[in-house]
């Protein structure tokens, strides 16, 4: 805690006048060892959770202010709480060091040195935390990085992809980090301290009504979700393991009490689940609250607010859960939202009874304080936070704007439906490259299979002429990658048969209406199936035609690989995303059971890394390989589709010479033209 309170210099009267605005001071002020029963104290436990390195109120991909988030505004709330309560303690629940471009910058782009402190921890140091837990996302960058930024040296055998463990303890936060339930396979001991017992001095009112100071010991224990073993398997499998939250609490809470803890705070990065208790369950805190001796629970992970009287969420409507008062089996409990939107406050009323401090639940208040005011304005940020991280903030902005490559052609989806693959092929190449390398390193049993890539245009004009992917020729920056890959999908690969491949293409071809070549009237080509399900391959080894005159389900013609027809029993690996691999779009046979790679990396990040590696994107290599074309057919009437106005030159540049403008303005008021395609060419 902060050493600003020189309580010993003041009389009790002075103390009472000064009490507002103070955190609990460290032990060392005048301790009163013989506090009699009847003494009372008010202690506010403050929680932040799931900050995800949202230090500034800023969106790094939009490069714009976002006042609805940001630790810099939470600091204002913390200061207000410290001014309001005579005693405060401040804890963070975890998911702290990952989540923004700034976090990625300090972890991956320009990793901080051993003697540096993460920007997030630096501003937390500045405001002063008493302790913090470890969330699941703390493991996202690997154990070596986690050790470095937390000042630890884990006794583990790291995965071979990891950087070495720091040779010495690096600079970490100034407050203790606690985690009880992740242990090293190597020595079977917890990675972090499982708990700490903090010595503090707080302002109390003794039994006679005098304002005095008194020592207090606060035991702090923390847990993370056991599911980290699935979510960060690539770093953790065989290196660490988890143990049961309830069992560890039953072991450690008595230990903390034996060490004199007057108050026990459990920081648990998870929510509530009343299923029968199992040590592997993700949200064990409904059961944790039943462990004797826990006075306060600080929750997180699910990005929710608790207490919340209006909540319809099932976990907050379980038996034993008071969503109005913020109690779980009578234990005051808070979950303070995410990204620096709120601070949680557990205002404990404590009374000295039978020689020990006891929480008076009837007078305890639990609440969430939002950075958004009732009038929808936002509290002002604490200016020192921005000043403290200005260098890292500006470096991140510069990084996001820095060209990672250059393209000699425009990548767009204006004509993706009719064969322009300029915004697709680069995605497929990035995915295929990633999967090929992954198989070579990790899945040799699939090394002989061809790896293909499948991707669809996310934006195909549904909302009008501006609803298309459009990345101009020239430098490509990080934030352009979000234009090329709009959704935060993760990269998956599936092992499929030739029959699956044909079915996949048939499902994608449902994008088109069935064309009657004899009709003399205009026929629209595009049906109701959304463009994001129009997967296409862009690989010169694979060829196929789409016959739009045929009924859905029998449109794929002349499907061949390396010039040979694809047989039903052939085998392929297809690099795609989690959506398609897990059954998105309802593609037959692609149902989540054929996944061989479920990467935690987003397709967008894979694309960014690929562009960084190739640097120069050329049409010849990255924007001209079509695997498919329409089966040629002469039609009596015009076949039409909509796209943005004035884009015909892009179609011509993509080699689509059978496109023409039928109506410059289609009359929809959405900046769309009606284009015509000659299917006979």
């Amino acid at each position: 805690m902060r050493p600003q309170h020189l309580l010993g210099l003041f009389s009790a009267l002075a103390l009472s006048l000064l009490s507002a605005g103070c955190a609990i001071s460290p032990a060392g002020s005048i301790p009163i060892s013989n506090i009699t029963d009847g003494a009372r104290a008010e202690v506010a436990i403050l929680e932040t959770t799931d900050l995800h390195t949202n230090i500034r109120s800023f969106d790094y991909y939009k490069l714009a202010e976002d006042k609805s988030i940001g630790f810099e505004r939470v600091v204002t709330l913390i200061k207000q709480a410290r001014a309001e309560f005579p005693n405060t303690l401040l804890f963070d629940n975890g998911d702290t060091i990952q989540g923004t471009a700034l976090a990625d910058f300090q972890a991956q782009v320009k990793p901080i040195g051993c003697d540096e402190t993460l920007a997030m921890y630096r501003v937390m140091n500045d405001i002063g935390y008493d302790a913090a837990g470890i969330g699941n996302h703390e493991f996202n960058y690997g154990l070596s990085f986690l050790a470095r930024v937390t000042g630890q040296r884990f006794n583990v055998d790291l995965k071979r992809d990891e950087a070495p463990m720091p040779s010495k303890a690096c600079a970490g936060p100034k407050f203790p980090l606690v985690l009880a339930n992740v242990l090293s396979v190597k020595d079977r001991k917890p990675l972090f301290k499982p708990y700490v017992v903090l010595n503090r001095t707080m302002k109390i009112t003794d039994a006679k009504g005098n304002a005095v100071s008194a020592p207090i010991k606060i035991g702090v224990i923390a847990f993370t979700p056991p599911k980290i073993m699935d979510w960060d398997r690539r770093w953790l499998d065989g290196v660490v393991y988890t143990d049961g939250i309830k069992e560890l609490a039953e072991q450690y809470v008595p230990e903390m009490r034996a060490q004199g803890a007057d108050l026990i705070v459990a920081i648990s990065h998870g929510g509530l689940d009343a299923s029968p208790y199992l040590p592997s369950m993700e949200n064990a805190n409904w059961h944790l609250a039943l462990v004797p001796g826990i006075d306060v629970m600080l929750l997180g992970h699910s990005h929710q607010i608790f207490p919340n009287a209006a909540s319809t969420a099932a976990p907050f409507n379980l038996p034993g859960v008071d969503k109005v008062k913020g109690l779980v089996h009578g234990v005051p409990t808070v979950m303070a939202n995410f990204w620096g939107k709120s601070v949680g406050v557990v205002a404990l009323s404590m009374e000295r009874r039978s020689g020990r401090w006891v929480v008076d639940a009837s007078k305890t208040r639990v609440e969430i304080r939002s950075i958004q005011n009732a009038d929808r304005s936002f509290v002002e940020p604490a200016p020192e936070v921005a000043a403290s991280v200005e260098a890292a903030h500006q470096a991140t902005i510069a990084y996001v704007k820095t060209p990672i490559g250059t393209s000699d052609f425009a990548m767009s989806s204006y004509f993706a439906d009719v064969g322009d693959i300029t915004a697709i092929q680069i995605v497929n190449q990035a995915q295929t490259d990633y999967v090929t390398r992954y198989i070579q390193s990790n899945l040799p049993q699939f090394a002989a299979l061809p790896v293909l890539g499948a991707a669809a245009p996310f934006k195909t004009g549904f909302a009008g002429g501006n609803d298309f992917t459009d990345v101009a020729a020239g430098p490509i920056a990080i934030n352009n990658a979000a234009d090329l890959y709009l959704y935060p999908n993760t990269l998956y690969a599936v092992k499929i048969s030739g029959a699956d491949l044909k079915n996949w293409l048939e499902a994608a071809a449902r994008r088109f209406r069935q064309i009657d070549p004899t009709l003399r009237t205009e026929q629209g080509l595009i049906g109701t199936m959304p463009g994001y399900n129009f997967d296409m391959f862009t690989d010169d080894r694979l060829r196929y035609e789409i016959d739009v005159t045929a009924a859905p389900g029998s449109r794929i013609k002349a499907l061949s690989f390396l010039g040979t027809p694809v047989l039903p029993g052939a085998e392929f690996v297809v690099a795609t995303n989690n959506y398609r691999a897990s059954g998105g779009g309802g593609f037959p046979g692609i149902d989540g059971t054929k996944t061989i790679i479920a990467s935690p990396d987003t397709n967008r990040d894979v694309l960014i890394e690929y562009i960084k590696s190739i640097k120069n994107i050329t049409r010849a290599k990255h924007g001209a390989t079509r695997s498919w074309q329409f089966s040629k057919v002469s039609t009596a009437g015009p076949i039409t589709f909509k796209s943005s106005q004035g884009k015909l030159p892009l179609a011509l540049a993509a080699g689509l010479t059978n496109i023409s403008v039928l109506q410059t303005d289609d009359g929809s008021g959405k900046s769309l033209s009606t284009y015509q395609i000659d299917l006979s060419k």
């Binding site: 979510w231 040590p279 969420a313 935060p488 999908n489 994001y532």
Partner: protein
Amino acid sequence: MSRAVTLLPVLLSLLTLSVPATRAVAAAPEPDAPVATNRAAQIDRWRVHADAGRDEQALQSLLIYARQGDSRAARAAGSVLSRRTERTVALDGLRWLERAAVAGDVEAAVELGRVFLFGRPAIEVDLPKAKAWFERANPTANGIAAYYLGVIAMRRSDDASAVKTALTHFEIAANLGVSDAMYRLGNVYALGVGAEPNPQLAMRWYLRAAASEHPLAIQEIAQAYARGDTLLPQSDFQSSVMREAMSHALRHAKSLP
């Protein structure tokens, strides 16, 4: 107010009347956990230690209980061993799973179904065996078994009776709280495969699955907002919010049920 998961409760409010009622909340055990629950927790703890923790002593503890006839221990030991790369060890794991399943342990039958549906490093995919084990797992009361039987049936999506069977399984699973099944039902009504297309009902199933943080369902909602839907009017802002919710859900991907 912007951003992600906070919107899910709002979306839930759209789930008005037309979705069948389901079990929303797991039954809560008595606060005084019975001995059986403690035993289950102990066995799960050993399983985690034996699997992720590479703790042979924990594995031996499971095997001791398994040999004494404890089906849960046999299932846990079988689950650990069946994932091993040595074929003889993996087959030993299969035998423990089979012993538990034959003794009536439904979860062991489900695990066997999963082993044969997905395969393991030393065990190949065997669809008929997977189907047989899921069918033994009381699929009218076990949502996971029902869900996977639906997935297997849907493999024959050109066969109307198979699709009908799949639909029945998905409905059972969804009503038992399996969010993947809710999502599949959304697809059924969105695409009109096995049922008449019904975009509103599809979206309601997606919303229900999204309330359980099902990432694909959240993506469907994001996409619906992007294009405009009968239930969700076009909104780039809401689509962006849902993309963020999806990103969060993907980072905490639930294991397949």
